[in-house]
């Protein structure tokens, strides 16, 4: 636990000092805010609630933010050679992976916390008509789901980061996997088996956001994201151990 905490705190400090991290978080907040405004304009007068629109405006950008934040975790260490010192030190690969993963998740949680201020505080103060419409519990449930999704994206990004020496290549690969793969696989399933549409209707990520924001709390969805996270972190520690077998 102490090792995990040490790695986490060092990585968070490195994130805070990294120019790329500040830029990517700022870009995420700007783009998510812009999407939120666009959705508010488009669905004005509809049955969609403010927290739903906020969740729908943030969710599509999370995979991209996760890919950029996680790209440097291991790829940078491999490029600089620091990975050798880490693997030669008396610490478990598991602790290394968890510490780095948690640091990336912390940055994303901070970005989400800043983003949630818009529907929770900024919007009600600017527009009195919205006051009382934003339910704190629904907003918390939406944020919780977004954090669960971010955790899965971060775990995938961390795994991809172990496989590359170049952080930019790791980011591109993570963006393709996190952003493109769920959409592509859903499209493939629907194209091959249109009859199962109702059975796999939970797959689109935005539908889950809609459900959570309207109070339909699903444990299955959380288990799905938890499983993806655990599997990727396990694979990540095994991939690190495999670096010892590269001969």
């Amino acid at each position: 636990m102490r090792t995990v905490h040490m790695i986490w705190s060092r990585e968070v400090r490195a994130f805070v000092r990294a120019f790329s991290c500040g830029v990517s978080v700022a870009a995420f907040l700007a783009v998510a805010g812009w999407t939120f405004v666009m959705l508010m304009r488009r669905y004005e007068g509809s049955v969609l609630q403010v927290q739903t629109l906020w969740g729908l405006s943030v969710a599509p950008w999370l995979p991209l933010l996760s890919a950029v934040v996680t790209m440097r975790l291991f790829a940078e260490e491999r490029a600089s050679g620091m990975i050798e010192l880490l693997l030669a030190a008396p610490l478990r690969e598991r602790d290394l992976v968890i510490g780095k993963f948690l640091s990336a998740l912390t940055i994303i949680a901070v970005a989400l916390s800043v983003a949630v201020l818009v529907p929770a505080l900024v919007l009600p103060s600017l527009c009195p008509a919205v006051q009382g419409l934003v339910r704190a519990s629904a907003l918390a449930a939406t944020s919780f789901l977004l954090l669960a999704q971010a955790s899965a994206w971060c775990a995938v990004g961390t795994l991809i980061s172990v496989l590359f020496r170049n952080p930019a290549a790791a980011a591109v690969c993570a963006m393709v996997v996190c952003g493109g793969l769920p959409v592509a696989s859903y499209a493939v399933v629907l194209a091959w088996m249109p009859s199962v549409r109702s059975g796999v209707a939970w797959m689109p990520l935005l539908a889950q956001v809609y459900d959570f924001s309207t109070g339909q709390f699903s444990t299955g969805v959380l288990i799905l994201y938890g499983s993806i996270t655990l599997f990727c972190l396990f694979a990540c520690s095994k991939a690190l151990a495999c670096l010892r077998l590269r001969g």
Partner: protein
């Protein structure tokens, strides 16, 4: 203390280390040398548990790295050829972080860090950011990191590369001082300088075999010439690698 017992290692079909055996006793400084690509770094990486040998066993005071890797690594200090460091930290913060990461008890951390800083002549630059250090100081900081926990064996990959003559002499003196508490295995090409402080030479040859020399049994000049000739034969250059005196 460190027993290397019939180890072999290949990169794909290319055998780099073939049935190599030797021991490193406490207080010894073993120089690993040979032409480029003969497997000096590979051997050090195997000893540091960064690579796993195809066959054979390694033991450090009876501890097998494949069975108890954490305990084995606790007894090893490793200096990488690239000397990677976290540039955004200060010298002291970096060492403290590394010592903590390696699991040292909280009460001893400060003492270990100040000992290592003093031993490597870094006490005056403790508050400097790592990114401002010269190549020589970066090497010293990496060395301080490797020896801070008083490992049983220090594995140093090309520590003399990129240093001027004065720094090389200082590093040699430093290693002689360190050898009183840790055995040292040092890889490099600067055989003439290494002969000034090492107790044994392991000359790795193309194909994975090795030749062993005890420095006390040969004169420095004769050994330099002999090793240089073998390295030249391996690289296929008649007059290469015999350092001028």
């Amino acid at each position: 203390m460190l027993e290397i017992d019939h180890i072999s290692f290949s990169y794909g079909r290319r055998r780099v280390i073939d049935d190599l055996s030797f021991d490193v006793a406490p207080g010894e400084i073993v120089a690993l040398t040979g032409a480029n690509g003969v497997g000096k770094t590979t051997l050090l990486q195997i000893l540091a548990n960064l690579l796993i040998q195809d066959t054979g066993n390694i033991r450090l005071d009876g501890v097998d790295p494949l069975e108890r890797p954490i305990r084995y690594r606790r007894g090893i200090g490793y200096l990488s050829e690239m000397c990677p460091l976290y540039d955004e930290m200060t010298v002291e913060a970096y060492l403290t972080y590394r010592v903590r990461l390696k699991g040292e008890r909280t009460l001893r951390i400060r003492r270990r860090v100040s000992e290592a800083l003093e031993l490597c002549g870094l006490d005056k630059v403790g508050r400097e950011p790592v990114r401002l250090l010269s190549q020589g100081y970066r090497k010293r900081l990496s060395l301080a990191d490797a020896l801070a926990l008083r490992p049983k064996v220090l594995l140093l990959d090309d520590p003399l590369a990129g240093l001027d003559a004065q720094l090389r002499r200082r590093l040699g003196a430093m290693l002689s001082a360190i050898s009183s508490r840790s055995a040292v295995v040092v890889a490099g090409h600067e055989i003439q300088e290494m002969l000034g402080w090492c107790t044994r030479v392991v000359l790795l040859r193309t194909g994975g075999s090795a030749l062993f020399y005890r420095t006390g049994e040969h004169s420095r000049e004769a050994l330099t010439e002999q090793v240089g000739r073998q390295v030249a034969a391996d690289t296929g250059e008649e007059e290469a690698c015999v350092p001028s005196t």
